[in-house]
């Protein structure tokens, strides 16, 4: 568990001298000692060798290290398993790609993505992007809507910046080739989504995210300065201590296809790895969303914020209730639209009792969060797995005309929605919290920037306004460009730096034994399901201190059981495998959510707890999790790599 969790304002951290906003903090991390590096690995031999790596030769002064003994071994550092780039981007969603395209004008960029490049939460974001693009609309209105939705926990300056810069980011996307729906006179067609007081959602038919991703990916693949490394799973950030500051030098990755570790050394790293939906059993997120970025950042001493605010959708198709269960587990949940309820759908529990009127006089038409809480409450009280949404009393033609997707999906699994109720269960959708970011995407770790869902910028507050997530990603990816390039230009990378950290070792049948590997794999899968079960049962939509404490205990026990099994069977600190690394990240994120939830003694936005069911003005501050101390660490909360030379940590 994190050593220190507080509900406090990040600005307090600034006062204590740990500030990272503004430019002051940059200079403390990098002191030039150009003289001592005159004779360093600038030899032409190394330069030529590095040219093969397609990036320049750099030298960075890291003051705590004694470099002289490492100079002559620099050639050894040059190998295909270490790559050097000016910028490394972790994640290939809209935030990562947008940033990559911009910084590629200044230097070399590596984009690391753990699956195919298009596989990201962005690709599934099919609603739209919100921005003030109508003259009748105003930035103030968008700001107001955002802050109301966020239960006034948003950072006002952040909201202002995002709402102001949004329109320009949309125009840039259009110039880059994204094509959005428009009217016949050429104006963008703007839709109006729940929570917005004006029409301001820009969209592309029904697949805005996919369209944006397509346009950005095309531009990225055509850019000679950007190298995309797909099927590279990021293991841990490479950091060092410079006095009080933590500095990020790159990231270790696992090439899943070749089962090799590839180390990326870069001057600047952008974390854009998306969300952590898979800490819950039912989620709309694709399988890649296992909270890798949040976990890596936490292990790298970055500050995490507002993790308790997890956005659920009340009615996702519940596979358990389908007559013909899907062969393979559905990768991401099928959300049943509010329109079904709006058109007359009724919610029943498994005893066919209509329960909504007991919770709210608006019954099924109550606000989404009320419905979600009510369903959650019913499921917990009755210890059931799903509830039923019945639209079968409506005319068959209307149902099939309005909801053909649901009809066909259910029919595939033996359910006729014109005659039977639909099994539904809430699904995790979006993480409003994440790595604490300043107005330019900077974190308290020097050289580490964040953008997108992985970041907590203060825009969403306690609840995200519809269509604001793509917007946040675009704006912050763009804002991080200037400080990143400034930093890149003032940094010189040390070629020999790559061997400062111990290398992760890939778990293979040869090293551990075929039998052991398969046992570990099986246990890991089971433990993952158990963790998801604990999170859903105890850290769901309706929380309580008792349940959260239980969750904390159960997660700790589960983690200990899993780690013990691994290490008893030959696993070691630096051994890596995809499933195991994802599991440790899931544990880390789950613990962050639980700690944050325990720290908030009020109910606000997405965080609802029966012990403190009301909003408290005095508690209207973000939840902050500071880095945990190394001594308390489990495998999930410590970085894999140790600094090999002696240094102060």
């Amino acid at each position: 568990m994190a050593a220190y969790v507080s509900v406090g304002n990040i600005h307090d951290l600034f006062l204590s001298g740990q500030g990272y906003k503004g430019h002051d903090s940059w200079s403390s991390g990098f002191t030039f000692r150009a003289n001592s590096f005159k004779d360093l690995s600038w030899s032409s031999g190394v330069s030529k060798a590095l040219k093969a790596e397609r990036c320049g030769c750099y030298s960075r002064v890291v003051s705590t290290f004694n470099e002289s003994s490492k100079i002559n071994t620099s050639i050894r550092a040059v190998s295909s398993s270490t790559k050097y780039y000016d910028f490394t981007v972790i994640g290939s969603g809209v935030a990562g790609l947008r940033y990559a395209l911009e910084v590629a004008k200044q230097g070399t960029v590596a984009v690391i993505t753990k699956d195919e490049p298009h596989e990201s939460n962005t690709n599934y974001a099919q609603g739209g992007v919100s921005a003030v693009l109508c003259p009748l609309d105003s930035v103030e209105s968008h700001m107001q809507d955002t802050m109301v939705a966020g239960a006034h926990l948003c950072d006002e300056e952040t909201v202002r910046v995002v709402c102001t810069e949004g329109p320009e980011r949309i125009r840039e996307l259009i110039a880059m080739g994204a094509s959005f729906d428009h009217g016949e006179d050429g104006n963008l067609h703007l839709a109006r989504e729940g929570g917005h007081s004006h029409r301001r959602i820009v969209h592309a038919a029904d697949m805005t995210g996919r369209e944006i991703e397509r346009a950005l990916l095309e531009a990225v693949l055509n850019d000679p300065n950007i190298s995309v490394f797909k099927h590279h799973f990021a293991i841990d950030l490479l950091t060092s201590q410079d006095g009080l500051d933590t500095v990020c030098h790159g990231v270790d990755t696992l090439n899943i296809k070749t089962n090799e570790v590839v180390r990326f050394i870069s001057k600047v790293t952008l974390l854009a790895s998306g969300g952590a939906g898979h800490i819950y059993p039912s989620t709309t997120n694709p399988l890649v969303a296992t909270g890798d970025g949040m976990a890596m950042a936490h292990r790298a001493q970055a500050v995490i914020s507002n993790m308790e605010f997890v956005q659920f959708h009340p009615t996702a198709l519940a596979d358990e209730g389908l007559p013909i269960k899907p062969q393979t587990a559905r990768e991401n949940a099928f959300l049943i639209t509010e329109a079904v309820r709006g058109d007359g759908g009724i919610l029943y529990n498994l005893a066919m009792e209509r329960f909504m009127p007991a919770y709210d006089e608006r019954a099924e038409l109550a606000p989404r969060d009320v419905v979600a809480r009510s369903i959650d409450d019913q499921l917990k009280k009755r210890k059931e797995k799903y509830v039923l949404l019945d639209i079968s009393h409506k005319p068959r033609e209307k149902i099939l005309a309005h909801f053909p997707n649901i009809a066909s999906e259910c029919l595939k699994h033996g359910l006729d929605i014109t005659r039977q109720p639909i099994p539904v269960v809430p699904a995790a959708h979006y993480m409003c919290g994440g790595v604490r970011a300043g107005l330019q995407g900077e974190t308290n770790v020097l050289g580490l920037f964040v953008a997108g869902e992985v970041a907590c910028t203060g825009l969403h507050g306690a609840n995200r306004l519809a269509s604001n997530s793509l917007l946040e990603a675009l704006v912050f990816a763009r804002r991080a460009v200037q400080p990143s390039t400034d930093l890149m230009k003032s940094t010189r990378l040390d070629v020999s730096a790559s061997e400062k950290w111990t290398r992760p070792v890939v778990a293979t049948a040869r090293s551990l034994g075929e039998d052991v590997i398969s046992k570990i794999l099986a246990l890991t899968r089971e433990v993952r399901r158990e963790l998801q079960g604990v999170m859903w049962k105890y850290v769901g939509i309706v929380r309580s201190t008792t349940r959260l404490n239980t969750a904390e205990r159960k997660i700790a026990e589960l983690e200990a059981k899993w780690e013990t099994f691994l290490f008893e069977h030959g696993w070691e600190q630096t051994v890596v495998a995809l499933e195991a690394c994802e599991m440790r990240n899931l544990f880390c994120c789950a613990k962050l959510v639980v700690s944050s939830a325990l720290a908030r003694h009020e109910s606000r936005g997405l965080h609802y707890t029966t012990d403190f069911p009301f909003v408290e003005e005095s508690k209207r501050i973000p939840t902050i999790i500071l880095p945990s101390s190394p001594t308390t660490a489990s495998w999930s909360s410590r970085q894999l790599q140790n600094i090999s030379s002696t240094s102060v940590l």
């Binding site: 599934y124 974001a125 099919q126 609603g127 739209g128 693009l133 109508c134 003259p135 009748l136 125009r171 840039e172 259009i174 110039a175 880059m176 080739g177 994204a178 094509s179 729906d181 428009h182 009217g183 016949e184 006179d185 050429g186 104006n187 963008l188 067609h189 703007l190 839709a191 109006r192 989504e193 729940g194 929570g195 959602i201 969209h203 592309a204 038919a205 029904d206 095309e218 055509n222 959708h313 959300l335 049943i336 639209t337 509010e338 329109a339 079904v340 309820r341 709006g342 989404r368 005309a401 309005h402 909801f403 053909p404 997707n405 649901i406 009809a407 999906e409 959708h429 519809a466 269509s467």
Partner: protein, 109 residues
């Protein structure tokens, strides 16, 4: 109406509001040219749902559309008669109940 007809000869999908456009705005486009989705010719401008932005904004947003006007290849794009939206989702308005809905499936809320 005569103006409309002449305008239509030049560029089939232009509406009366095309007087805001200047040919030179075409060359202001920066970045890669957007893909060329086809335009379905519109008989008359439906301005109920569509808002008139300021001139500069319209020029900026108009640019991709102008390029689309030049080429009319590809399959048909859906034209929504009620809203005047081109390329939009078929069926009822996706945001009619506050979330983003497509054929029953919700993707954003």
């Amino acid at each position: 109406m005569a103006t409309n007809k002449i305008v239509r000869l030049i560029a089939p999908s232009r509406s009366a509001s095309s007087r805001f456009l200047e040919p030179v705005s075409r060359f202001l486009s920066s970045g890669t040219p957007p893909p060329q989705p086809p335009q379905s010719p519109s008989p008359s401008p439906n301005e109920d749902q569509v808002v008139k932005p300021d001139q500069k904004l319209q020029e900026n947003l108009q640019m991709p559309k102008e390029e689309e006007d030049e080429e009319e290849g590809g399959g048909g794009e859906f034209f929504n008669k009620d809203t005047g939206e081109i390329g939009g989702p078929r069926g009822p308005e996706p945001t009619r109940y506050g979330d983003w809905e497509q054929r029953g499936r919700c993707s954003d809320f």
